[in-house]
């Protein structure tokens, strides 16, 4: 499955020569033998076999997963093995070796926990080449998440947070390779949340403003948008950050208005560059939605945000979008936006003069002409808006 041009699996040149086919056949046989071996060992046959959590089994799962990371049952089994090992380490009675004790001391951790940290780090390392080859495999991200979660559970904050910071670096790199990989964006949010949580539970050390990363994350979305306007995930993330950003800045009425105006300026500039890009219209709609108190999904930006503000912005934006038509008369998103905002405007300001019903009928007609396949939808719209 290919989405936005980036294949699910990193591309390798397909070689269909006889030589390559033979090689492939051998690989398949080997894989099948390997699989049988692991599954046999995993057999939870309570009477005959004890659950085999041995190191040898662990290594077999590594081999199997390297060839097929989509085999989620094996990931589950791998986690069972790891859990077993961690529990054993943490409950250990015997004294550690001198070497281990010295290393643990250096890291500022009790030896048992240090051992767990090393095992987690090793597993994280194991995942890296897999992630490069299969950047969209749910189970790899999942396992990573689990490892980090385990670290957070068993290790003190200062150790865990270092791991999480490394994750931020990794996810930034992954997003650099494919800025629209939603796994990456979702994971990023998880990472940011974890870092913030661990940094504020702290050992007394707090960054200005409770160690929150909202400013740097907001700047990150700006960067990603500038390198690819179509980045729906980046625009979405940006919209999620705004309410927290404004409260962390202690924004007053004036600041909030300036902020909203700046965001409108940004998205308008983007829309003039490419009105045919749907992700840009989604963001414009989001900004407009913050003006409606009825919309529970978009927290208001302005304070206060009443009818007057709504009417003013609706007027302004309808005017602005109307101007976008020049030179883009075949862009259906413009007409859709005009109709939607006009509808809302007439609800807010029934006697409003900015838009006439005649004009709206004209826009609907254009829409019908541009997108005849959705005739049913336009008819519904017509009825709903009473045109």
């Amino acid at each position: 499955m290919q989405s936005h041009g980036i294949p699910r699996v990193a591309a390798t040149t397909l070689d269909k020569s006889e030589q390559a086919r033979n090689k492939e056949r051998k690989q398949i046989t080997q894989y099948q033998a390997l699989e049988k071996d692991v599954v046999d060992r995993a057999e939870l046959d309570a009477q005959v076999k004890a659950k085999d959590y041995s190191d040898a089994t662990f290594r077999l799962t590594s081999q199997l997963l390297t060839q097929n990371p989509e085999y989620y049952t094996i990931w589950n089994y791998r986690r069972l093995i790891l859990q077993h090992v961690f529990a054993r380490e943490l409950a250990a009675d015997e004294a550690p070796s001198e070497q281990d004790a010295a290393a643990a001391d250096k890291a500022g951790l009790p030896p048992a926990q240090h051992e767990v940290l090393l095992l987690i780090k090793e597993d994280l390392q194991f995942l890296i080449p897999l992630l490069k080859q299969y950047p969209k495999c749910y189970w790899i991200w999942n396992h990573r998440s689990w490892l980090l979660g385990t670290a957070t559970k068993h290790l003190p904050a200062h150790s865990a947070v270092t791991l999480w910071h490394a994750e931020l670096g990794l996810v930034s790199k992954m997003l650099g390779l494919d800025s629209r990989n939603f796994h990456g964006w979702g994971y990023r949010r998880e990472v940011v949340l974890a870092i913030e949580r661990l940094s504020s539970n702290g050992d007394g050390e707090k960054e200005s403003g409770s160690g929150n990363m909202v400013e740097s994350e907001f700047a990150y979305t700006t960067k990603m948008i500038q390198s690819n306007l179509s980045n729906f995930s980046a625009w979405h993330y940006r919209s999620q950050l705004i309410p927290r950003l404004l409260s962390s800045r202690n924004a007053d009425t004036k600041t909030r208005q300036e902020f909203l105006d700046a965001e409108f300026e940004l998205i308008t500039r983007a829309l003039y560059t490419d009105p045919y890009d749907q992700s840009l219209w989604f963001y414009h709609q989001y900004l407009m939605a913050t003006l409606s108190p009825a919309n529970k999904q978009a927290e208001p930006v302005l304070e206060p945000c009443g009818r007057a503000e709504q009417a003013r912005y609706l007027e302004r934006e309808i005017g602005s979008v109307r101007e976008m038509l020049e030179g883009a008369e075949d862009c259906k998103y413009i007409y859709q936006a005009l109709l939607e905002y006009s509808g809302r405007y007439l609800e807010v300001e029934a006697e409003g003069e900015k838009v006439t019903l005649e004009e709206m009928r004209g826009w609907l007609r254009e829409l019908r002409g541009i997108d005849p396949l959705r005739e049913g939808r336009w008819r519904d719209l017509e009825r709903k808006m009473g045109l």
Binding site: T12, T13, G176, K223, Q226, S227, N228, L229, T268, R269, A270, Y272, T273, D274, E326, G327, A328
Partner: protein, 510 residues
């Protein structure tokens, strides 16, 4: 070394320039006995790279009006040493620290050469670097002394979005044009293309895309790299070239459309190709050319009907095939390049070594992207009736000069003295204090070959390859020409042009 006299070959190739070298690469696994010679004592022919001392020698051989060999592609070569005049810290490095390309070319990501380099298994011996940013230098329209303004060319939607010098309307118009360019060869744009094709690009932009400011036009002309004046650059010429640029962006990485081969450009590719031929059994001799080629009139057997070639030292060899570009083939077969041609027939060229790394010309190609080793500057010459100067800038990362310096390759179909002025404008406009200086300069003329008869009108057994154009972009027809020649030699039904398996025992990292 045994004498070549009385030897017999399947193919004799004369000249080690790019076309000939690509041909021998394509034949390197065929088992054919190949003799590859070059009348120079260096590899690369017309695409050679020269160290400073080699350049001095080359200039001696190619200076003046009537050059030593009337069949030379180059003439009027001169060198100016300028670092001695400035008693400054910046000096030329060792002669061997430089690899100056006589014919530097941009290789677009979509060029047919690159897949061939991969499929022929030579890519692991080559390193390609990004040619990142394109710039224009425009003179203000009111004719005041040019306070040269260096402007970066927007190469796509995000560039247009970020460009503060474009207002909303200008962004809209530019995007409209770029969208047209992106699909100019599709059916739905046929009519519009037909309507616009003979118009000068600048006129079409104004009348049909609402781009009124002259500053918006220059970047688009730059992407087309015309050799003629603005008014002569038509939509028909420019749009496919701009399309090629846009369609090449992002193929090898974000933010750049073309690459340059490290260590001296096309000569490096030629060398690697020749090496592959040598590994395949080809024999190499420098300092030898083909003086004469004849064929027996009434041949009795296959051996007798072979071509009889006389080489520079008097050696007589026979060959099934003789391959070369016009300047290397004996006069009985091809007509020499006229060196007294009118100015329209040559490209004035100039290589300048500059005392600064010109860092502002090499910003990273994208967020977290590579640092390019090449940049392209298009310099508008005062008055739209003159063609513009094109300057390729290579940083020291290209391997062509020591760190802290750059090599500038300027070309113009016109008066050579304009080249120096253009280079000067560039150096003044990068905003460095003190203004970077030219330490060393070589100037020469590069001649286009006149129309050569090819194909069936050529003598039997002789295959003529086209020389590279004097322009700065490597065109696809170089490789298609080589393929045609390969097919003549291997037979019409031959398959697998430039497609090889990796050699046994050679480890390849995928």
């Amino acid at each position: 070394m045994d004498s070549l006299d009385n030897t017999s070959w399947d193919v004799v190739v004369t000249g080690t320039g790019l076309p000939q070298s690509l041909l021998v690469l394509s034949l390197s696994r065929s088992g054919k006995q190949i003799l590859h010679i070059d009348r120079n004592d260096y590899y690369g022919g017309d695409e050679a790279v020269l160290s400073l001392s080699e350049a001095e020698q080359w200039v001696k051989n190619h200076g003046g009006d009537a050059s030593e060999r009337a069949d030379s592609t180059y003439s009027h070569a001169t060198i100016s040493h300028l670092d001695a005049q400035e008693g400054g810290a910046k000096k030329l490095g060792f002669a061997r620290a430089y690899s100056l390309a006589l014919a530097p070319h941009l290789v677009y990501a979509r060029s047919n050469l690159l897949p061939a380099v991969v499929s022929s298994r030579t890519h692991s011996q080559l390193e390609f670097q990004a040619v990142g940013s394109w710039f224009t230098i425009t003179a203000p329209p009111d004719g005041s002394p040019p306070r040269s303004r260096l402007t970066r060319v927007p190469s796509g939607r995000e560039d247009v979005f970020r460009d503060d010098s474009l207002d909303l309307r200008a962004k809209r118009s530019l995007m409209k044009f770029l969208r047209f360019v992106a699909s100019y060869d599709e059916e739905n744009e046929q009519q519009r293309m037909e309507q616009l094709k003979s118009l000068p690009l600048s006129v079409a932009l104004k009348q049909h895309f609402g781009m009124n400011s002259t500053t918006a036009v220059a970047p688009l002309l730059a992407l087309a790299l015309p050799t003629v004046s603005e008014i002569e650059t038509t939509v028909e010429f420019a749009v496919p070239k701009i399309a090629r640029h846009l369609r090449s962006i992002g193929i090898f990485g974000p933010g750049f459309s073309a690459v340059l081969p490290k260590w001296g450009g096309l000569a490096e590719i030629a060398q690697v190709a020749c090496r592959a031929c040598a590994v395949g059994g080809g024999v190499y001799v420098l300092g030898k050319g083909v003086m004469n080629a004849t064929r027996a009139e009434d041949a009795e057997d296959a051996e007798d009907s072979k071509l009889r070639l006389e080489l520079t030292g008097g050696e007589k060899v026979t060959a099934q095939w003789l391959v070369g570009c016009p300047p290397d083939l004996p006069h009985t077969i091809s007509t020499p390049i006229p060196s007294q041609a009118s100015s329209a027939e040559y490209m004035a060229k100039n290589i300048s070594i500059v005392s600064s790394p010109l860092t502002s010309l090499f910003p990273p190609t994208a967020e977290g992207g590579v640092i390019p080793a090449g940049a392209v500057i298009w310099v508008e010459v005062a008055g739209s009736s003159s063609p513009s100067v094109r300057i390729l800038v290579h940083s020291s990362e290209s391997g062509e000069c020591p760190a802290g310096q750059c090599v500038l390759y300027a070309s113009l179909r016109g008066d050579p003295s304009i080249l120096d002025t253009a280079v000067q404008h560039l150096l003044e406009s990068v905003g460095e204090q003190p203004t970077p200086k030219v330490l060393w300069r070589m100037q020469y003329r590069h001649y286009t070959e006149t129309e050569q008869p090819r194909g069936t009108t050529t003598s039997e057994g002789v295959v003529m390859l086209q020389s590279l154009s004097t322009d700065i972009v490597l065109e696809d027809d170089v490789l298609t020409d080589v393929e045609e020649a390969w097919r003549k030699i291997m037979g019409e039904r031959a398959e697998g042009f430039m497609k090889f398996e990796s050699r046994e025992g050679v480890e390849e990292d995928e």
